[in-house]
Assembly symmetry: C2
Homo-oligomer: 282 residues x 2
């Protein structure tokens, strides 16, 4: 496993692999890798000849009041995770290397980014789609792997790839959870013991919602009923503050009034100062 | 020479060429090919193993009050020009084929598009950069050829390619002119005999400006002096109405106050209802 720091080094390596007819799998991350990322790397490694993991903390997907400076970083640990799970290259460029001093170009997916996290984090998804376009162009992967925890990101990226005729297959992979149910996230590291316990309310509330829907599958269910069940469960936790609870169409992220097949139930909850997300698809 | 109508056909052809190790040159156009385009095709043909010419009239780069429906089209003639000048494929997809029914993604270059044509045609360059991103992804050219008549387009595309790490070299080619000096343009076709004569005022006014600058190269020259010379010349023509006269830095398209090296003098002029552009670089 090699860590590469410049675009030219990365391009050179890709050229070498292409000459040998090897396929490239790509796992884009912001580093501080956890078991969720590891599962993506293993899947890429099982499906592609070579695997690149990028660990670039992308400043343009953070808002002015978000946690860019505090975002956790640990290169050595990331390299270990990459090695252990079968990555061939960790791509770890600097911000200057990626954006230069005079970036003017943005890739935007409009429509899918209006609700959920897009509404709460204006500009966030433009940052995601712009960096991914750059990384796809540099790495030219056959397949790129994304976790379903960031479900809106996954949907946005799929739409971008289709709309722009990019030659990469986007693979969504199931959420990886702690034993007690909390979705794995680099941000979990910020939680103190008390908050860590409180954070369980996300998965618990979603489980209750899912059970309710399944138990009433022969009746008409209003989206508001389900949202109330989630809100009620979250309200039992003093440290938790709801950012959003949304139930939307799985394809176009439009709000639904009635529960039906192919919906996405997504929540964002502050535990103390830490914003966590979770979701399930029905 | 083959004309291909679908993205899949085009991708298939590209795959075939790539397998044979052939390089691809690309000339993106909106069809109604003239000698300016022909010169680009010949240059591509001299530098690359295979040449693709796209002739897609791109609706999203036209404004609501612009001439999309009236834009001239002539497939047969375009195919002749392609054959005669060494193209291997003319790519001629429908609007539905290119954009589907639910396009949500846009590529934008901000900053370079604020002045000149960008100011007069809001959204125009987003349309250009979005379609070119798609075409580059489909055709994967080694080099793409653009005329210097659409100088702002050329600068915007170069910036996009750099910012997004696209693996294509952008080649600018000199303006091709009629014998009397009028820059070749598909829109020239709209001019009646009287207007055709009046249209000469564009190149004439630019020639006067260039002469003035060269004759006074040892003095300080204000941009406003040069603009006045151009405006005065254009005002001699009753059918001509100035859209803009701009003198900007060649690199960042920022307005300059004093004439210096590396400037771009660009004009847009209505001749009757037809908007024509011309420019020179110093």
């Amino acid at each position: 496993m090699r860590t590469l720091y410049t675009i030219n080094q990365m391009k050179q390596k890709v050229k070498e692999w292409k000459r040998q007819g090897l396929t490239i799998g790509f796992v884009p991350t912001m580093g501080y890798l956890h078991e969720g990322h590891a599962s993506l790397i293993r899947k890429a490694s099982s499906e592609c000849d070579r695997v690149v993991v990028s660990t670039f903390v992308n400043p343009i997907q953070f808002g002015p009041n978000e946690d860019l400076d505090k975002y956790p970083r640990d290169q050595e640990r990331d390299e270990e995770v990459c090695i252990k799970n079968g990555a061939d290259v960790m791509f770890f460029p600097s911000v200057l290397e990626m954006y230069g001093e005079d970036r003017k170009t943005t890739v935007s997916v409009i429509g899918l980014t209006a609700g959920l996290c897009g509404a709460k984090r204006p500009g966030h998804f433009d940052g995601v789609t712009t960096i991914l376009t750059k990384l796809f162009n540099i790495i030219t992967p056959k397949k790129a792997y994304f976790g379903e925890k960031d479900i809106q990101q996954l949907m946005v990226v799929k739409k971008m790839v289709k709309d722009l005729n990019m030659d990469v297959k986007i693979i969504g992979c199931p959420i990886v959870r702690e034993e007690d149910g909390l979705a794995k996230s680099s941000r979990n590291k910020y939680l103190n013991q008390e908050e860590r316990k409180a954070a369980l309310v996300l998965s618990k509330s979603l489980n209750k919602a899912r059970e309710y829907i399944i138990n009433n599958k022969n009746k008409e269910i209003l989206a508001t009923e389900v949202k109330e069940i989630i809100a009620k469960e979250i309200s039992t936790e003093d440290l938790a503050k709801i950012d959003y609870i949304e139930i939307v169409d799985k394809e176009n992220i439009a709000e639904v009034n009635m529960i039906k097949d192919e919906i996405l139930v997504a929540i964002a909850v502050y535990i103390g100062k830490i914003r966590l997300i979770d979701n399930f698809i029905l």
